[in-house]
Amino acid sequence: MNTHILWVIAGMGLVTYIPRWAPLYLLSRRLLPAWFVEWLDFIPAAILSALILPAILIVGDPRRFNPFTPEFFVSVPTLLVAVKTRSLAGTTLTGMALFWFIQRFL
């Protein structure tokens, strides 16, 4: 039994949990100023975009900009399907199918 690893994991758990918990605990029972609510309203769109674009446009270690990844090619029709159908299931399955196809046959 490696207690070092268990202690490391416990420490990781604590420092991961606190940022998840503190804002929710502190903000959810408080009246928030209007500007802050407006700011928070932008956060989901901002975070999603910040998660997606680097994942499809940056490759390798060290990182390089590459606009010709299969991920990027697939993201264009996937985005169109999302805008057209507004269906989470349809978009997810279309994206997966296209990605599978492009990896297998191109």
Binding site: V15, P19, A22, E38, A45, S49, R63, S75, W100
Partner: protein, 233 residues
């Protein structure tokens, strides 16, 4: 908890589960190679429950890293949840201390993205959101342990599973973009994220880009062009 919350939450969570199976199995395999036992993998998935930081920690532990370096790296990598937890607090009003503590555990990039969109569309409550969190969590824990014990059950690239979360994110972003100002913020955030990711190692880019882009959005909204930009919403 009502049956409808369990039903709705389970029905909504499947894209996350698909992605977590693929990444979870991969993590299990890599963690095993790094010398973690299956029960240590499971312990980490339960206690930490944050994919990218778990990959990084496994690599660091393999190289014999000590307590502080691993824990500090994990802290920095997972700091982005601050923004997600803040953003979700708008929808999770008046939770008791215990409820907030329980809900907070399951906040990930994916559950945040999905629950934000569902709250925004209405017809969503904290119980259904909690079900999304915990089904995703259960999938992650089981997949990572399975990967560490059985190896990659799913061959690389099978069924486009590697793209499930990306496709889900793209659709959820479309749901979040409700007026032209949201489009502007999303574009700014994406460009900033790419630039920051290329310049600064690590994953600071998520928190830096979203913070700056949301602030720019707020400044635009607050300085005049009001109404004009919000017509579409």
């Amino acid at each position: 908890m009502g049956n409808s919350a369990i039903r709705n939450g389970t029905a909504a969570a499947w894209p996350i589960c698909l992605g977590y199976v693929a990444i979870g199995l991969a993590f299990g395999v890599i963690a095993r190679k790094a010398g973690l036992l299956p029960f240590e993998v499971g312990f980490m998935s339960v206690v930490v429950y944050a994919g990218s930081s778990q990959f990084i920690a496994a690599a660091m532990l393999e190289n014999g890293a000590g307590f502080l370096p691993v824990v500090l790296t994990t802290f920095v990598v997972n700091l982005r949840h601050l923004l997600m937890s803040s953003s979700l607090s708008v929808h999770l009003r008046d939770l008791s201390g215990g409820q907030a503590a329980l809900f907070a555990y399951g906040i990930t990039d994916e559950s945040f993205a999905l629950n934000s969109a569902m709250f925004r569309q209405g017809n969503w409550n904290w119980q259904a959101a909690l079900v999304v969190n915990q089904i995703s969590n259960l999938t992650w824990v089981i997949s990572t342990i399975a990967g560490s014990m059985l190896g990659t059950l799913v061959p690389d690239g099978a069924f486009g599973l590697d793209y499930a979360l990306e496709a889900m994110f793209i659709c959820l972003m479309v749901f979040q973009v409700r007026n032209s100002l949201h489009v502007i913020v999303a574009v700014i955030s994406g460009i900033l994220a790419v630039v920051v990711a290329l310049v600064i190692p690590g994953n600071y880019y998520i928190i830096v880009a979203s913070f700056l882009a949301a602030t720019i959005g707020l400044i635009i909204r607050r300085t005049g062009s009001k109404g004009h930009l919000e017509e579409k919403s």
